[in-house]
Amino acid sequence: MSLALSRPARSAAPGVFVALALTLAVGWLLVTIDGGQLFSQSTTVSLLHVAAGLGLVAVGQTMVIIGGSLDLSVAYVLSLSTLVAAEAMNGRDGALLPGAGLALAVSAAIGLLNGVLVTKVRINAFIATVGVGLLLKGYLENGYDGPAGKAAPALVRTLGYQRIGPVPVSFLLLLAVAAAAWFALTRTRFGHHLIAVGGDPEVARLSGVRNDRILVTAHVLCSLCAGLAGIYLAARLGAGAPRVGTEGLYDLESIAAVVLGGAALAGGRGGVAGTVGGVLLLASIDAIFNQLEVDAFVKQVIRGVIIIAAVAVYARRALRKAA
């Protein structure tokens, strides 16, 4: 028992970082044999850009998954956010902040809807967020055939392309958001209560936690993160893109990143650090495949396999623990 006692309560999900290091090592070897360069400036920059977009969504997804919920509408929220931001800005720097604010407000409202459907109307989180996603999908397909609006040039310059050394500003934004989320989870009552709600709603309720309020807040935060990712992508693409969220598979990939980071899909366990590790892992695999010039379709097949395998591995682990 003394051994067990010395173990800290919060493990920083080192598994995913080991996997990340291994992936990078093997990838580096393969790329080098192939005659390429994995850690060149341009590869690193694009890897971090990929990580920034996915990471913002995944950090939000971490919140809801830790609370025992789930959000499959994030891809549509992200697309919508690019459009709201770009159309409101319409290429004017003066409208940068109002545009971004509007995009975030719309995102938050969708998160509120998700949260209310899950807690008050008591619809299963998966199907509720799929339903909301379909609502948004129809709106997007009906209103837009292609890119629309124009992001403020200042936003494109900074969030879209500016970087410090090899590190894009957008990746710093991700780190800031991740740090804030980590802080919220570990240092605020909200975070403690969210983890409790995900771990055992009944225990949380008996201890005086207001479960519904906590979970709605988590959904709003998740949507806000997806909205922020949308603003970033609008900056990156210079315009609103109605299908960028779904084509980028931000819904499934964000869930995969969270699960790879060591969170339990059932809730109550997980952390932002692990999620960032999961995001970097997925982005690295992507970068390695790009360097090896692997067919885009092969990449998609492998993405599917990775997602299923990641969840299967964690399901197995949880099973062994329960036994």
């Binding site: 028992m1 067990a4 006692l5 309560a9 605020t188 009552r189 409790a196 055992d200 201890s207 005086g208």
Partner: protein
């Protein structure tokens, strides 16, 4: 009685509670003074847990008054009671295994400084609380899931203390503890006592009650029997208070000497994770009763025989031939049926009709296309034979009374013509009239040649129905009793107080 101290912490007068018109608690008086360990004892169904739920705010009493710290109180919920200073340590811990000790202790009322959770204070105060009850060795940052059961219980107690509990309810606190851990719990309880905390100690285990309590309140059938000073009674006397009621004559007659036939099911040295060294012979035509406390391995025995949680060691023979009961399906093929204790969770499919529920097992093990009409006709006959009352066979089973649901489950098994029937608490949650119908059915099945094993927590039922009784304790068969045994004999074996009662 010792001098009543000036200000009792908790005073109950005439507390009563009914559910759906059934009175489960009535006229209960109880006092707890600061620093007292007051034990509440009684057999299963005596009303102990209902009483504890009333005190801790889980139920509102229908009758009577409750005063806490001199103020009349009615609690609107567990939180209300907690805030007033009543803590409860449940048998099933209310802890988050993934979180640290301190996080669990302060869940819902984390100390905050400048809007942020003050972890240093939280850890510090938890450490202080732990030290104050002599558990300073337990690090407040440890993950609760990594702790043993005994330590988790300490966390539960500290969680209550962190809310300034002045009265602590402990519901079967030793049920999950190993022997050497019980001693640690004693020390802990005595420390609490010295701090002036009143403890309501609910337990089956007579020895503990005498070790810890100064006063003992005995409940039976929801009523107060007596409150005695622990020094004034002996164990035997206490057990007599707990039992001692006329055996009603409405149980069907037992098997006549010639009626129980050859050994149908025999287990030799059966064991698995919860069971050890089980030797058992079940005869055709008899009802073998299984007694014992919750968690003593009664249900585990039935589940092992049904292949749901199979034996991993030992041998099982059916009518003399060895069988391997590796899954429910295998057991069913061998002619074994199992009526589960958790009817709602594993006995019925609530949203399906009476007929579909009755057909479930037949459809599963003997799917057929032809001859389905005859099979359905047979099920209809069985439903009539066990006398199911429903609006129609298409009615969803969840709308039926517990007794009728149980009859449907029984019809499901009878359709397979089982040779061995395992009943786990067959009359739990069933009203009196339906109860005796179930008893009649059980006896009729035995009379028709089936071998019946029946688990029951209700001693009168166990004694009234069984041709022989085995009593389980700690995963073993503690002893066997013939028909005509008394409640005291069973309790003595189940509690392990008086081995001589085993004869």
């Amino acid at each position: 009685m010792s001098d009543p101290p000036p200000s009792p912490l908790l005073t109950l007068r005439g507390i009563g509670k009914s559910f759906l018109g059934v009175r489960v608690l009535g006229g209960v008086d109880l006092d707890v003074v600061p620093g007292e360990v007051h034990a509440v004892v009684g057999e299963n169904g005596a009303g102990k847990s209902t009483l504890m739920k009333v005190v801790s705010g889980g139920y509102a009493p229908d009758e009577g008054t409750m005063e806490f710290a001199g103020v009349p109180r009615t609690f609107r919920g567990p939180r209300d009671a907690q805030r007033a200073g009543i803590g409860i340590v449940h048998q099933e811990f209310n802890l988050l295994p993934e979180r640290s000790v301190a996080e669990n202790v302060y869940l819902g009322h984390e100390p905050v400084r400048r809007g942020l959770v003050d972890r240093a204070t939280m850890l510090g105060r938890t450490a202080e609380l732990l030290a104050s009850i002599g558990e300073g060795a337990l690090p407040p940052g440890a993950r609760v899931g990594d702790l043993g059961v005994a330590r988790q219980q300490v966390v539960e107690i500290v969680k209550a203390l962190a809310l300034d509990a002045r009265l602590l309810i402990m519901d079967e606190p030793t049920a999950a503890l190993a022997d050497h851990e019980v001693e640690q719990l004693y020390t802990l309880v005595r420390r609490l006592q010295r701090r002036g905390i009143g403890v309501l100690y609910v337990s089956h285990r007579i020895r503990e009650v005498f070790d810890l309590a100064s006063r003992i309140t005995v409940l039976k059938d929801g009523r107060l029997v007596t409150t005695v000073d622990a020094g004034d009674v002996g164990a035997g006397q206490l057990v007599r208070h707990m039992v001692g009621r006329d055996l009603s004559s409405y149980y069907p007659g037992r098997a006549a000497p010639g009626e129980s036939g050859a050994v149908r099911l025999a287990v030799r040295d059966g064991g698995n994770r919860t069971l050890r060294g089980v030797d058992l012979r079940l005869r055709a035509g008899e009802v073998l009763g299984v007694g014992g406390l919750q968690g003593s391995g009664r249900s585990a025995l039935a589940r092992a025989l049904f292949g749901a949680v199979p034996f991993t060691t030992g041998e099982v023979t059916l009518d003399g031939a060895p069988v391997r009961l590796r899954s429910p399906r295998a057991a069913m093929r061998a002619g074994i049926a199992y009526v589960t204790e958790d009817r709602k969770g594993e006995g019925i499919v609530g949203g399906r009709s009476v007929l579909d529920n009755a057909l479930l097992a037949s459809r599963a093990v003997a799917p057929a296309w032809r001859g389905r009409g005859a099979r359905t006709a047979r099920i209809r006959e069985l439903l009539a034979a066990v006398d199911v009352r429903a609006a129609g066979e298409d009615q969803e089973i969840r709308f039926l009374s517990g007794g009728n649901q149980q009859k449907v489950v029984l019809a499901r098994w009878l359709a397979l013509g089982p040779r061995v029937l395992l009943f786990d608490e067959p009359t739990r949650g069933i009203d009196v009239g339906a109860k005796s119908a179930i008893h009649d059915l059980v006896r009729r099945l035995a009379r028709d040649g089936a071998a019946v094993l029946m688990i029951s927590s209700e001693l009168p039922e166990l004694l009234g129905m069984s041709d022989r009784i085995i009593v389980m304790r700690d995963g073993r068969i503690a002893g066997e009793l013939p028909a005509g045994a008394t409640e005291e004999n069973v309790l003595a074996l189940a509690l392990g107080t008086a081995p001589e009662a085993a004869r």
